[in-house]
Symmetry: none
Subunit: 214 residues, 4 copies
DNA sequence: AATGAATGAGCATTCATTCAT
DNA sequence: CATGAATGAATGCTCATTCAT
């Protein structure tokens, strides 16, 4: 619990009807996310973020103690429900293919809804000092671990090839999904469900034609 | 004799024995690449680059007219032999699998040799103003086009599944390779050839076990 | 509410009680005028201007968007009430000699009150890019036109010699006045009214003795 | 005689056949004059001057020890034959009107031939530190003194009005001439001899019509 | 809850100057 | 004579941050 200062920017859950603050804080995070996504952390100015919110530059400090904290919060926000959702998917008793589809869907859908924050998480989190990255890192490994478990299960059940390196495949899946996630953010015309389907298909079946040649 | 401008930073191809300049200019590009890769374009300072080269900040402007131009040159440098190599691979008369392996090898090897410049190209080129990105963009599409051709060939020869969307697959391959490329840059212990093999395998065969269950 | 830009330096006429800003902005213009007059536009630093105001260098940019804009505003300020006053003089129904005296008085008095700004207008306005000079140019021609009209009237009424080139004389009057204006700025001991009288006398009667020789 | 250093830039009259150096040095002064006239002392760069001469920036230091020295030499060069010529005019036994015409002619002609240097002398000499201005100042007062003598003579001979303040008139004449000199530099279409005539006429006869009204 | 005003450190860039070759 | 290479100090400008109101 941060009880060192009484700066509003540090107390997030006062319990009472600070609902107005909470709502505006969310807007602040989203504004920061958008601006960081567009210009990068160092390329963005607090003035940019304030303008995006429609407030004055100085007022921003009511919501964030510093620019760095804004980045941290954006990254955490972009990753928040992520692991939670992944856990739910893992816990369900479903065939491997269904799980994989659910995972890809979850990943890419997140890009479309919290797009900016996700992009910021992927591209800009490295500009945070190590201390600030702790929570984000933990979430990241949790996510990867869960994914690896799903893959291990697949192998065990003989659905996946026995010689697969689950660590490698997990990274690759995340890589493909992030890559398409960026495209989804950049290109509004790109169809979400089509992309999901194609990603899953590639991950599952690769590109080689396995039906016997005639 | 270029007697309109005497700024070395503007003349790139004098032909004569300006080999000393050319050599140091290359060092400048590599220093800039390293610094941009580490800190991002906006997070890096010209002082950082100069320090990396072992010269004074002001002297850097003997080699680059501006920080932006440095970024441009790094991006172009990182992509230079890229398309050339891809063309060579495409022109050879080889089975599809061999070509794909060659492509992945080329892509990932480039990351290890010109690692920083490649990373900068991928992550920072968007911070260049559109005019400066023209050449880079052209190289990018050429690369993608060549890759799509290879895939189309594979489909035609019945090596690849007929229902593949070459555009989608091309993007995905580039996505996986860049994702692993970043890992190769970040983690020196990662084995290059192992990574190459696993990437190719995933792209070709996916994850699903196709041998009949017993 | 201007909510597109929140840079004070861009909003000049808010109307409301931004009187504090307006007052300090005026001080800023006068400080800039003094410094530009002393050291020339390129020889002056923003640090000089800030020091003259007693604020920090960076704070200067709250009042001016750029050094160039400061020069522009100083020039316009130095010329502002100028044409207005000239118009009033022209409109009055007075004999030519009285008008000419009024014009010289107005010109030289302005040097003493807004001395620096006037000097800057005369000596430094050429360092402004053409776009920034538009308003200043317009004011300048208006001034000259009015002066030429006064002269034309004088000729018409047979007070002035018929063979005078009004354009040439107008330029010359401005030349003499500016020349003495500079002296007035440089030398505080110079008597304003004496200078005015002598200037008018020279312009009107030249130097030649017209009383018949004995 | 400066015999402290052996820098070529300080030895001007070696006696031998340094005619090549002398010629190029003159070109250097004229190049500096042009550039200073266009951009002002502080606005001009040594690179500009070198470019104007067609040499490299570093090579300029063969001709000038410093930028300031270049300014000094330009100013002196622009004023050099000036006083000499004035002396010749004064010494001749001519009626006052002829002398005045000769003076104005000399002044304005100089602007057309050494135009840039003259302009620099007038507008930029103040940016020199006091020590460097000694010679220029001396020349300036000599010039003014001679002019005042001519005027005093005119009064004595009853050609000029007895109540004239020679000091004031001398300054005014210089003021008018410089003002038109600048115009001559700026506007190539302006007719030199027409300007000379009109200036003399204004100085001598003023603007007032002295012929009795009918 | 928000803002206007100010700050001060940092940054890209310029430029006069030097000097070995 | 001339240049290429380098320097380092200065300068315009930006921006995160603070704080009284």
């Amino acid at each position: 619990m941060t009880n060192e200062t009484h700066n509003k920017a540090e107390q997030d859950q006062d319990g009472a009807d600070n609902s107005k603050y909470v709502k505006k804080k969310l807007l602040a995070i989203e504004a920061a996310a958008k601006v960081f996504a567009d210009k990068g952390f160092h390329g963005a100015t607090t003035q940019d973020i304030a303008a995006e919110m429609g407030i004055q530059q100085g007022s921003l400090y009511y919501y964030f103690k510093s620019k760095e904290q804004a980045l941290q919060e954006v990254c955490e926000y972009g990753f928040e429900h992520y692991v939670t959702r992944m856990k739910k998917i893992c816990d369900k008793d479903q065939p491997f293919e269904a799980k994989m589809l659910a995972i890809v869907t979850s990943h890419l859908t997140n890009y479309r809804s919290k797009h900016s924050a996700m992009k910021v998480h992927n591209d800009q989190r490295l500009y945070l000092p190590t201390e600030r990255r702790a929570k984000i890192k933990k979430l990241g490994s949790e996510y990867r671990d869960l994914l690896e478990q799903v893959l291990a299960e697949g192998i065990e059940k003989n659905v996946l090839r026995a010689n697969l390196d689950t660590h490698f495949i997990a990274y690759s899946i995340i890589g493909i999904c992030n890559s398409w996630g960026s495209n989804l953010v950049r290109d509004d015309d790109l169809d979400l469900f089509d992309t999901i389907e194609q990603c899953s298909d590639l991950i599952l079946h690769g590109t080689i034609n396995t039906t016997p040649k005639m």
